[in-house]
């Protein structure tokens, strides 16, 4: 039996933190996940100088390509260089570094490099042929100008593949083997806000809406803000959804209108107004202009078709007509719009993250499929004992045909597990900014139109769907029993991996299984959530709560001295800066934690209450450890 061990992965994640100007910075490291994948170097000026030289060598050899060099938007004299890993001129998925300098002296280097790549960089298939293959396999087509492009992709078994990467109209991004035409991985191309739950909300609050008068009526077109906001109504027509998303064509008739500018459709009102408030929030709190910091036009859809039922999402470019993607908001089957302020601000932050990373790195914020510690060789599920070598998962393939998928095991016959922590970081930042926007505009409290740490609580029949203050108070449906949201890194959901192509002896493609382990007990969920992006996010989100409010983490028992609600903005600013200025485009969650901490040090100083609160919070949730 040929089994590659996950531990054979040759990737190196490095995080160097050394603010030369603040040598008293607290030494923090990210915990080792057990596979030797994460390395955090000691923070000394000498080591940073050494890495300066290494980066320069990589750049000279073409293994790192500088994609951007930008002045810090806040700190004078600070500069950020973003490098993308390259292999024979082909981008390496998940490989990037961000170097921060202050007055020419390196302050931090944060990022991920994948080492040991030895594949043939010449594809056997053309991009056109791969596009045709994808059409045959998925029934979907390429989005607008999205042509397949070569990418080096590392699989769960540690092998590297030369792939074509393409985004299709089924709103997924595919990685296709450039030699065989086989789909080796796919991931959601949109970031969503969705869940099913019960709660209170849906209030009839009055608010102002910025509209434009044209042709004797009013349109939901906000021209008062520097970033114009156009809110379209698909009227529940799937072809309109597709036209706007996939071809970027919009017509004046797509605008909802109102004869007297007294709008009564809460779907339009909340989506349009709350998008404007999100623009205002990031401008006032974070000095950020619009979605992309360039005040590009914003496209928002309200949709009542099944396409977005119980869902809201952000679709980055190439989706939509503009430069910054599309925000779409559906409704519950009772017709309640999924457009509460925290939800809209959440999606808005996805747009900000996407734009910030795209402009700095030349590519999208990317998911990272990080392996966790291996599981046992056997697990129990509803009273049955299942061995990795023989267990299978019944599911459907891309053609919706039933299929048995074997689980991926390591050389010792243990279940291989992993999660999409970069995706969870993305979701966490969106929840944090959604919460921040809520506190910015609403008074603190409980109930409708009150600021709290729950998400979607104002949407009747939808929320609250999760909470940052007490993550474990909410559960995810699973068999044989629900599982609480994690509040600590040790409780992060690690998904079993199934082989979707090839054989257990020669696996060629993989996917997350909707199965996680607690001890030796397996829990089957409705979906793998693209590696738990909407689940593991509560770990980082809980750290945000602790840094603001203080308190004790229920799992670690560690207490955090928060900055208090009066200084909430500092914590929000550290998280926002971490994501928009310092974050590499495929961070693990510990790397994200270090990035946020570095941002707090940059903004407020190493001895500041904000930096100390964030350090304590990250340690309390297990994302960082004291060196």
């Amino acid at each position: 039996m040929h089994r590659r061990t996950a531990a054979a992965l040759g990737s190196l994640l490095l995080v160097l933190l050394c603010p030369a100007s603040v040598p008293a910075q607290r030494a923090l490291i990210a915990p080792q996940p057990g596979l030797g994948r994460l390395t955090v170097a000691a923070a000394t000026p000498a080591e940073l100088r050494s890495w300066d030289g290494t980066i320069d060598q990589f750049v000279q050899r073409g293994e790192l390509v500088m994609r951007s060099m930008r002045e810090d938007p806040v700190l004078a004299g600070h500069r950020h260089e973003t490098f993308i890993q390259s292999y024979w001129g082909i981008p390496v998925y998940g490989g990037s570094l961000v170097r921060q300098t202050a007055g020419g002296v390196t302050v931090s280097v944060i990022g991920t490099l994948l080492t040991g790549i030895t594949i043939n960089p010449t594809p056997a298939l053309s991009a056109a042929r791969v596009a045709a293959i994808l059409g045959e396999v998925t029934g979907a087509s390429l989005v607008a100008t999205s042509a397949p492009h070569l990418t080096v992709f590392r699989l769960f078994d540690g092998t590297d593949r030369l792939t074509y990467r393409a985004t299709l109209t089924d709103m997924r991004t595919y990685f296709v083997d450039a030699d065989t035409g086989e789909v080796v991985w796919s991931t959601a191309a949109v970031v969503t806000q969705r869940a099913v739950g019960l709660g209170t909300g849906a209030v009839g609050d009055r608010k102002k809406i910025s509209a434009t008068q044209a042709a004797g009526t009013f349109r939901s077109y906000d021209q008062l803000r520097p970033a114009p906001i156009r809110t379209y109504d698909t009227r529940g027509l799937l072809d309109v959804v597709g036209r706007i998303l996939f071809s970027g064509d919009v017509f004046d008739s797509d605008f909802p209108t109102d004869a007297d500018n007294t709008w009564t459709d809460p779907h339009v009102v909340d989506a349009h107004v709350h998008t404007g408030w999100a623009v205002d929030y990031v401008y006032k709190q974070h000095a950020w202009n619009g979605v992309d910091n360039r005040n590009s036009a914003i496209t928002t859809l309200v949709d009542s078709s099944p396409f977005t039922e119980y869902n809201a999402f952000f679709a980055p470019p190439p989706f939509g007509p503009g430069e910054v993607g599309v925000f779409a908001y559906g409704r519950t089957d009772d017709g309640v719009p999924i457009t509460a302020l925290d939800v809209v601000a959440h999606e808005f932050m996805h747009g900000v993250t996407s734009a910030a990373l795209r402009h700095r790195t030349g590519g999208e914020y990317e998911d990272q499929f990080e392996l966790g510690p291996p599981g046992p060789t056997t697990v129990t599920f509803e009273g049955r004992t299942l061995a990795c070598a023989t267990a299978t998962l019944t599911g459907t393939d891309e053609a919706d045909e039933p299929q048995e998928f074997p689980f991926l095991c390591d050389a010792e016959g243990r279940f291989v597990r992993g999660a999409n922590h970069a995706g969870a970081v993305n979701e966490a930042l969106s929840d944090i900014i959604g919460t921040g926007a809520e506190f910015f505009f609403h008074p603190r409290g409980t109930g409708p139109l009150r600021a709290d740490y729950q998400s979607g609580e104002d949407i009747l029949g939808f929320g609250p769907i999760r909470a940052l203050d007490v993550p474990h108070a909410f559960t995810i449906r699973a068999r044989p029993s629900p599982i609480p949201y994690p509040d600590h890194w040790a409780r992060s959901f690690q998904y079993l991996v199934v082989i979707t192509a090839g054989t257990p002896d020669a696996p060629r493609a993989f996917a997350f299984a909707p199965v996680v382990l607690i001890g030796r007990d397996a829990f089957l969920m409705r979906s793998a959530d693209d590696g738990g992006v909407h689940i593991n996010m509560t770990i980082l989100g809980h750290a945000f709560y602790l840094a603001v409010e203080g308190g004790t983490n229920a799992t670690s028992g560690l207490r955090v001295q928060g900055v208090g609600g009066a200084h909430r903005a500092q914590i929000e600013q550290a998280f926002f800066r971490g994501m928009t200025v310092l974050m590499p485009n495929a961070p693990s969650m510990p790397v994200a934690a270090l990035t946020v901490y570095q941002a707090a040090v940059d903004l407020f100083g190493v001895t500041s209450a904000a930096a100390q609160a964030i350090a304590q919070a990250m340690v309390a949730v297990g994302l960082l450890e004291a060196a």
């Binding site: 009055r206 102002k208 008062l224 803000r225 500018n261 404007g276 408030w277 205002d280 401008y283």
Partner: protein, 256 residues
């Protein structure tokens, strides 16, 4: 009453003049009538009293009502006066005087401007506007005269006054704002001119001394008053405003 820092009361000059005139009239002995039947007076002086009033109006902006307030001060200012009289019987006569008063003062403008994005979030702005008051008054008077000593003629008079008042009122406010529109700055305040007539009263005293049989000089003290109703600039009804005041002046006296 205004007070000094040491607490001693301060008598305003115009009040002092009025008191002096009263003393003169009270001390005046009964004397014979002047023999002339027609007199002409030309005066210039100051309208010594000041008044103030306020307009408040609703300012609808961004689908919400804000408020616009203007505080006007009608300060003391110069007036000119032309009068003629005729003696009808003994010391009693009729007269008519026409006075014109104009002052350009400032109006303090304050407004609470509705926010374009949020309900009940008003932005305070303040500034000033030029506001002019012009009063033309026709004083129809019954006059009673007396001679005091060899040269001084004292005439008491009173009667109805017909006012024609023009007043500049602030009608709107212009301001500058930029995103995120949480503040606004005052640019200017457009105004409208309101004109209205009203009937009031006046009373006063005229002192004259003649240098020749027909030409002399004199002093005038006159108080007039009326309430006029100005149409509010926002169309929200009428605004009652005081007009007239205390005139203190002097000038040429002719008699024939």
């Amino acid at each position: 009453m205004q007070t000094r820092l040491n607490g001693a009361p301060r008598v305003r000059p115009r009040v002092a003049v009025l008191a002096a005139v009263a003393v003169i009239v009270a001390a005046m002995p009964a004397v014979g009538l002047a023999q002339s039947r027609v007199g002409v007076t030309v005066n210039a002086g100051t309208q010594a009293t000041s008044t103030a009033f306020t307009t408040r109006s609703t300012l609808t902006l961004h689908r919400e009502d804000g408020d616009l307030r203007a505080d006007y001060g009608v300060d003391a200012g110069a007036f000119i006066d032309l009068g003629a009289s005729v003696r009808l019987w003994r010391q009693v006569g009729l007269g008519v005087g026409v006075s014109r008063f104009q002052t350009t003062g400032g109006a303090g403008v304050t407004a609470g401007l509705p926010h374009p994005f949020h309900l009940e979030q008003f932005r305070a702005v303040d500034g000033s506007a030029a506001a002019t008051r012009q009063e033309t008054a026709v004083h129809v008077q019954l006059r009673v005269g007396a001679t005091v000593g060899p040269r001084l003629e004292v005439t008491l008079f009173g009667g109805p006054t017909f006012f024609d008042v023009e007043q500049t009122l602030v009608s709107d406010i212009l301001f500058e704002e930029t995103y995120p529109y949480d503040t606004a700055t005052f640019s200017s305040a457009p105004t409208v001119l309101r004109s209205v007539t009203a009937v009031g009263f006046h009373t006063g005293v005229d002192l004259a001394t003649y240098l020749t049989p027909t030409v002399g000089v004199g002093a005038l003290v006159r108080f007039s008053r009326a309430m006029v109703d100005l149409a509010r600039p926002d169309g929200g009804g009428m605004l009652a405003v005081e007009t007239g005041g205390l005139h203190v002046g002097g000038g040429l006296r002719l008699r024939f």
